[in-house]
Symmetry: C2
Subunit: 198 residues, 2 copies
DNA sequence: GTCTATATCTCGATAGAC
DNA sequence: GTCTATCGAGATATAGAC
């Protein structure tokens, strides 16, 4: 039992290494240009061995998406401890600004992945990236609702849409300042929002 | 001379067919998943014949980008005839809303292409999509400047960034309503903008 | 359980007949 | 100028030795 437990632990540790490597490399190179060899090298695992842990390349893409989802959950979890919904939303925007160099280099991990998956003719993994984005939309809408603002879903759409837009432009123009400029505007916008009933 | 003119005309007509086909197919399937056979089929040109008109696949990608740039020039040219910069900017947003079904299916042609090209390790065609986006940024900034608004470049960034964001979300969520909702907000925003000096 | 070797496939690009 | 046949690179996935 200890032996089998060790084996399982070792196996799942390699699985975790592969998952983390997949998230990093797929973000930087995209799904289509990334080979299994790229991911295996990054994870320090022999190429052929990958198939012991993942049956197909798409399973690795799915694992990367789960990783991004977990990262997002961690972030919103930390933000939830901040006092008040407005501080939480502003904390989110500040996090985006802090990640400006990464955004300029590779864009939003989930957003760029959603673009790539959207180009697939077969419906493979379609909407899986969208589900992660929707999760962020729901969290943001919850904060706007707590602020007693009208149409919280629309406000969440505006916020997340702004993030995806500024990430795409920062990436396309290779200019992290895009994140700073739009981020500053969003912070100001969040400060200006007042409940309908005063 | 008539003969050589005919030949050239026929050749450039096939070149135009290939360019238009490339723009359509690359938008729908992305650069990586699109094969030369796909483009040749769409243009009704034999596969091997493509290389008579374009030396590499990347030349076709570049041609598609030029096509998008020409399409954008046509649009801004028509908008320039509208009376007043505010009407021109609102006309742009209305065009985005009108294209909502396409945006939900395939995203913004230039934006999604910029994402894909951004994933390349070599710098091939890097920034070429960014140049098209920058062209739109410049046009929008010119309108905001004509409205005598402060920081016209920031306003242009906000507008174009919002467009890319709503296109990405409409595509990721497969929901054209995203375009309508965000588009309506942008129209309202444009109406609300007032010059600093009254 | 781990890794090597390789089968198989697809695509970009080329050579050369017509 | 037009098209066919095919090469060669590089990828995923598998078979099987250890």
């Amino acid at each position: 039992m200890t032996n089998s437990g060790d084996r399982r632990a070792r196996a799942s540790q390699k699985r975790r290494r592969l998952t983390a490597a997949a998230a990093r490399v797929l973000h930087a190179q995209g799904t289509e240009r990334t080979t299994l060899a790229d991911i295996a090298r990054e994870a320090d695992v022999p190429v052929g061995n990958v198939y012991y842990h993942f049956r197909t390349k798409d399973e690795l893409v799915r694992a990367a998406l789960t990783e991004h989802r977990a990262h997002l959950d961690g972030l919103t979890g930390r933000l939830d401890r901040l006092p008040g919904p407005r501080a939480r939303l502003k904390g989110l925007v500040e996090e985006w600004i802090a990640q400006r160099e990464t955004a300029a280099r590779h864009g939003c991990p989930t957003g760029t992945l959603a673009v790539e998956l959207g180009k697939r003719a077969d419906g493979t993994l379609e909407g899986e990236a969208g589900a992660v984005i929707r999760h962020l939309l729901d969290w943001a809408a919850e904060q706007f609702r707590a602020l007693r603002l009208p149409a919280p879903d629309d406000l969440a759409l505006t916020l997340v849409s702004a993030y995806q837009g500024m990430s795409l432009l920062a990436n396309a123009l290779r200019d992290p300042d895009v994140m700073s400029r739009e981020g500053a505007r969003l912070l100001h916008w969040l400060d200006s929002l007042q409940p309908a009933d005063g």
